[in-house]
Amino acid sequence: MVENRSEGAANRRLVLRVEGWPGFAPGQFVMLSPGPCGSASRSDPLLPRPMAIYRAQSGEAERSSVRLEILYKVTGRGTALLSGSRSGDRVRLLGPLGRAFAEPDPGEDAVIVAGGTGIASVYELAARLAPRMDVSVLLGAQTRDALMGRDDFSKLGVRLQVATDDGSEGTPGLVTDLLDAAIDAKPTACIYVCGPTAMMRRAAEIAAARGRPCVVSLENTMPCGFGVCLGCATPLSEGGFALTCRDGPMFDAARVAWDRLP
């Protein structure tokens, strides 16, 4: 662990040095031990936590090691324990896992809508698409303070808009309220969404109404992250389930049975 610093509100930025990192695609995630691995093993809390890979930069000297960044919010026990760890601590990490965001079809633009911790899942996508097409990024948070990663996004050369519930930054209200206008501006865009379920559902509805393809990045309790425990079922509109970790976390919004999400 290189760094673990506050990013405002309950958000924190974790910087890890990882050896032998194979590279990753936007939208992939890692499983992270719930708190630092101390000098002896503890079995509580037990499960690793899924965390999106915010970005990964190659180390200057050593080719094999990267600086892996994760933006996370302290919500429960595991993230609270993580927040107490410091530079020099070690964490256990498995990944990269999951499928990447599908790229927009040739000629399409991208509108990225993200709220809360969902912002951490889309930075790399925005960064990789920005040099190649016109990218709009709509970020939402409860307050200005709770808004993750704003400064990083503003350096990407994307069209950035912000909405906060309390209006302390950008447009007051929900970030999805900005989506219609963004589609107006880019009628051929593919819509990428990550955030709270209600927000993703709303964005998916808007995209569907406008006839735009929409990809959502779903969350679920994930004990393993690599498709073996069957714990992370996402109900599909066609019936049955997909595994969020293996078949996702990215899904075509039309495939998701929103009514049957918990």
């Binding site: 079995s43 499960l47 690793p48 309790t221 994930m222 425990c229 992370c232 079922a233 049955g240």
Partner: protein, 311 residues
């Protein structure tokens, strides 16, 4: 206690299933084996028990299927699996040679259990069958086959007849007297016993004021249940002659050794596979190291090698 290094014989015989070493992985925690290939050379372990199979493919419970618990987790995956035919057709052939595969079977009726066993009988690559007796018996209103001697007996009898393949019965821990269940299995001709399955449990979300799991109840697994599993293995080892496969909360070599000492011939690693997909290999190697350090030339000499307290 000898300090010299010698080649430890790791092999064990689990009711006619010859294993390279005593470490298997538990049904439902190891998928169909191939998922672990990037992390673990399957030849480092004794083998694996595949996800339980039903006659027809089944989908499981709606989410949430998982709840975290102190030193453990609850799951309510239910019957989700590809079905026995797809297992034989697609999953088995994908497993590298030299890997011992035990198929696990569960169903809601005895006839269906037997039919799945029949389909598995004689299929190359199926080294043994494990009967998951923790499935609710539909006609008895939710009670598990493994919870009542007069449901378990007929189940073992029927599945015993259905194939010649070595037959393990996996016992439910949700019983008053696990030794009684073990005796029933022994009487009906099982070749070995696996125990324990997950312990029935419940977790509540106090903010939403509802069970965390959509199924309300789930199975508790992980280190939390290990002392319960050890007790049951110890009780069963004193009650029957059948070889035992010890399961429950194994997170490292020491834990596995505890099961061997209590009388288990082999062990299965479950939940810990999620936390560290290479753990089963590390457990196997740690057992060898322990045997070396303590002067046991054969890992099977550890089985039941527990000293009693003076009374």
């Amino acid at each position: 206690m000898s300090q010299s290094k010698f080649a430890v014989d790791n092999s064990v015989d689990l009711g006619g299933i010859r294993l390279r070493n005593p470490v298997l992985t538990a049904s439902g925690t190891f998928g169909y084996g191939t998922e672990f290939a990037p992390y673990l050379d399957l030849r480092r372990i004794g083998g694996f028990v595949a996800k339980s199979l039903t006659l027809k493919p089944r989908v499981g419970n709606p989410p949430p299927r998982i709840a975290e618990a102190p030193s453990g987790m609850l799951n309510a995956i239910s019957l989700e699996n590809v079905g026995v035919d797809a297992f034989i057709r697609e999953k088995l052939p994908a497993i590298p040679d030299g890997v011992t595969v035990i198929a696990s079977v569960f169903e809601t009726e005895i006839e269906r259990y037997a039919e799945v066993c029949k389909r598995l009988a004689g299929v190359p690559g199926v080294a043994g069958i494990e009967i998951n007796a923790s499935c609710p018996h539909v006609k008895s209103g939710g009670i598990e086959f493994g919870q009542k001697a007069d449901l378990l007996g007929p189940l073992v009898r029927a599945t015993r007849r259905a194939s010649e393949v070595p037959l393990l019965v996996k016992l439910s821990p949700n019983v008053t007297d696990i030794a009684e269940m073990a005796r029933v299995c022994e009487g009906e001709g099982a070749d070995g016993l696996s125990l324990i399955n997950a312990v029935q449990a419940l977790e509540i979300d106090v903010e939403k004021r509802r069970p965390v799991l959509s199924n309300t109840l789930g199975g508790l697994s992980g280190p939390a249940i290990r002392p319960i599993a050890l007790r049951m293995v110890w009780q069963v080892a004193r009650a029957v002659k059948l070889p035992i496969c010890g399961i429950g909360g194994i997170a490292g070599p020491e834990d596995a050794i505890k099961f061997l000492l209590c009388g288990a011939t082999a062990v299965q690693v479950g939940t810990s596979n999620y936390l560290n997909p290479a753990i089963a290999g590390e457990v196997a190697e740690g057992i060898t190291a322990y045997a070396e350090r303590h002067g046991f030339a054969r890992v099977r000499d550890l089985v039941g090698a527990l000293e009693a307290w003076p009374v």
